[in-house]
Symmetry: C2
Subunit: 203 residues, 2 copies
């Protein structure tokens, strides 16, 4: 039963996974190396052999997660004409991508005060998302299907705010508490309001 050689690589990954999960739940300080080792089904000493210290393990977690730097969001999308339909899809897509990284997002946000260098990482995802939306609206303006009297970036930030709420509630509370009892496709209803506004068109 002793010294089962998992191949080394596997062990490192299991430790990183366990660390991410626990630290994002309880915070860095409150997470013990013992707990991480247990969750990774690894002896505590092994943890220190792979990562010299708890802090270096923490930084290794950040490094690994930041690697997969959300390239998903980097693609440009051409407006097709049906804004509501398309923004619904883009929203669902981005939301899913971000929520998939919710643990990491929470971890970064919680420790940013203690490790200010994290700050640079945090902005990356939102900024990429906003940038993609901005380009989308720019093109939609050229096509004449979007008002030209509002800055594309303002539109992008506005639209992104809704996705951001989903990300935050999911990351910290485990669910989109505001919409969870709502019926229907929340994203589409939002997109519809965003595109058409709430003002009565009674003219």
């Amino acid at each position: 039963m002793h010294g089962e050689n998992m191949g080394g690589k596997n062990t490192k990954i299991r430790i990183l996974d366990a660390a991410l999960e626990l630290i994002s739940k309880d915070g860095l300080k409150a997470t013990t190396t013992k707990a991480i080792a247990e969750k990774a089904s690894v002896n505590e000493v092994t943890l220190f052999r792979h990562f010299e210290s708890k802090e270096k393990l923490f930084l290794a977690v950040i490094d690994r997660e930041a690697m997969v730097r959300f390239e998903i969001i980097q693609h440009d999308i051409e407006p097709s004409g049906d804004l509501v339909e398309e923004l619904t899809m883009i929203g669902n897509f981005m939301s899913k991508a971000m929520v998939g990284k919710a643990n990491f997002f929470k971890l970064m946000v919680m420790e940013v005060n203690r490790y200010p260098e994290i700050f640079d990482h945090i902005g990356t995802v939102p900024m990429a998302a906003i940038d993609m939306l901005k380009k989308y609206f720019d093109k939609a303006k050229e096509m004449g299907i979007v008002r030209k009297d509002v800055h594309s970036e303002i539109m992008a930030i506005t639209y992104f705010s809704y996705l951001f709420r989903i990300l935050v509630t999911t990351a910290f509370l485990g669910d989109d508490i505001f919409m969870k009892n709502r019926t229907g496709d929340g994203m589409r209803q939002f997109a519809e309001i965003f595109v058409n506004g709430v003002a009565s068109r009674g003219d």
Copy 2:
């Protein structure tokens, strides 16, 4: 220099203030009673004499903050006609009220996993805000200035999401990082999009 009698009440408040500030910054576990005492300019023993344990101090902080339960937001507002203008005001008002409690909000969110009973507190503010907005939109519908084919609550949640983003970024990053380099009145620009949509009215 010894035993300066501050009146007792004052001391308790200073400790609670220091605890809120430090715990919201670093998290409960990472905040030491020594640090709290120092920040409150009080001997560590005094802290334990007023609050039996670190945990009870923490709960006392929550109790005190939850007392001022954002009655500010509880007032109903009658739509006047100019939706953009009014929503801008409401938004700024709510945003200011919530951001004023940003420390407390962050503290609750960070510790909700460890103290699930906090969960009940967290929902209060957003729900009150959403409820107020919902009533506002209901009345605006009666006046015929808002579309009747969209649920008021969906509108409310949509509008609230923007305020929520401001609250979260301020609480956790100290600033509204997404809008901080923007010029102009962000809240008004958002309200304008919300009311009129982004679709071109080229009919």
